[in-house]
């Protein structure tokens, strides 16, 4: 993580020139880059076109005041988490309280105390950086939508029942494949492969929550609820198969072995939540549908198909997706026979 004392991009918003000059000067002395705006309206325009780490905001301004700016920031998906420090007169603390309630991070009283200014700006800057990193992290394993939800609502290490579609996928005969090439080629292959699969899954609102060796597990319909999770999952799988075809064409040109994958999908009620500790948590789900998806994925080898789904997933698909019934299969550990379907695109 970057240190607290690295410079940031500040935006000072105040209708008073002396205040703007003073604040700019003090921030520049701390090494920050400073832009200024004379009212909220100008500030919002600048924020939408130029990156900013911390906003220093006056309350009383013509055109658009501090309250209105805070409100506009809350409405903006991109700017919602921008740390705002209110700069106010000492006799308007009641209004500052309202600003904090509206999402402002902190406040400073004018005339400014340079020591407090430095401390509060650095604290806000640190928060911004932490949030940015968190956001980046979330986005690597979830869709932007899920990442935003997590940021907004935070982690709660508790579970709930949800209806979701689960996908398992892995590379066939991967062990044999990796024995015949040098280790760096295997890692490179896996990285390229996962990059493609992640793209297909996140583009279709799925969340990859597990990667192990050459296999992965993805959830559709959670953490953020999506009505069409069954269709999303199958669409993602079809894209994965199509992307892999292109990937293999490139490998053939490079004189490398083609790879084949198996994908199994099942839908049902599962218990989902974050498991782990406050420091390291992963979103996961457990339940029959999870086991079933894993079994179905395993069955792709027997059936000689790359994409298999269960009955409940099938019922959520639009007509134009061609599905072939493969009859009933009794899976290990399951009492009842399960109807399995192959999706051919």
């Amino acid at each position: 993580m970057k240190s607290t004392h690295e410079p940031g991009q500040m935006l000072v918003v105040d209708d008073n020139r002396v205040n703007r000059l003073l604040l700019t000067r003090a921030l520049e002395q701390n090494g920050h880059l400073v832009s200024t705006a004379e009212n909220g309206k100008v500030a919002m325009e600048m924020l939408r076109t130029k990156p900013c780490d911390v906003l220093l905001l006056d309350i009383d301004m013509p055109e658009m005041n501090g309250f209105e700016v805070l409100e506009a920031l809350l409405q903006d998906e991109e700017l919602r988490y921008l740390p705002v420090i209110m700069t106010s007169a000492s006799d308007e603390l009641d209004r500052v309280v309202k600003c904090i309630e509206m999402g402002a991070e902190d406040y400073l009283v004018k005339p400014l105390n340079p020591v407090l200014l430095r401390a509060r700006v650095n604290a806000s800057l640190e928060k911004k950086r932490l949030r940015d990193e968190q956001r980046k992290l979330f986005r690597t394993f979830a869709t932007p939508e899920v990442a935003e939800q997590l940021l907004r609502e935070g982690f709660s290490l508790g579970g709930k029942y949800i209806k979701a579609t689960i996908m398992f996928s892995d590379i066939r005969s991967f062990t044999t494949l990796s024995e015949n090439q040098d280790p760096s080629a295997t890692i490179e292959l896996l990285n390229n492969y996962f990059a493609l699969m992640f793209d297909a899954i996140t583009a279709n609102n799925g969340t990859v929550n597990q990667m192990e060796g050459d296999g992965l597990m993805a959830i559709f319909g959670a953490p953020a609820y999506r009505e069409n999770h069954r269709r999303d999952a199958v669409k993602a799988a079809l894209e994965m198969v199509a992307l892999l075809k292109t990937f293999n064409e490139q490998r053939v040109v490079q004189n490398k072995d083609e790879i084949q994958i198996g994908i199994g999908i099942a839908t049902g009620t599962v218990i989902a939540g974050y498991t782990g500790t406050e420091h390291r948590a992963t979103y996961t789900c457990v339940g029959d549908a999870v086991n079933l998806a894993a079994r179905i994925e395993n069955h792709t080898k027997v059936a000689g198909k790359s994409l298999l789904i269960d009955k409940y997933t099938r019922e959520g698909l639009p007509d134009h997706i061609h599905v072939e019934g493969l009859g009933e299969v009794i899976f290990k550990g399951k009492q009842q026979a399960i109807s399995v379907f192959a999706v051919n695109g």
């Binding site: 008073n16 020139r17 000059l21 009383d60 004018k110």
Partner: protein
Amino acid sequence: MPIIDKATFDELKEMSGEEFINELIDTFLEDAPKMIAEMKSGLDSNSVETYRRAAHSLKSNAATFGASQLAALAKELEMLGKENKLHETGDRLRALEEAYESACSELKGLKS
């Protein structure tokens, strides 16, 4: 009450540096008359918001320079705006102008 509180001013000067304090004083002397004019026009046209905001700004800047009398008067006048009692300003605006003139000449003298 001093016209310019020495301690406040020195602190400001130390924080901003010789050159910058001059720029700051010049800016204030340029803008303060505009704020007083806005207070007057706000009063004449009964535009409470214009009047109050100008008084607020003047109070804030006066306090920054340690212009205690000016800041106190501006604060009183701002309060009247907040409470919607513009009719009670009386001759306090006149007193504010005088306080500004005194602060103005002291600040000019304090420039490096």
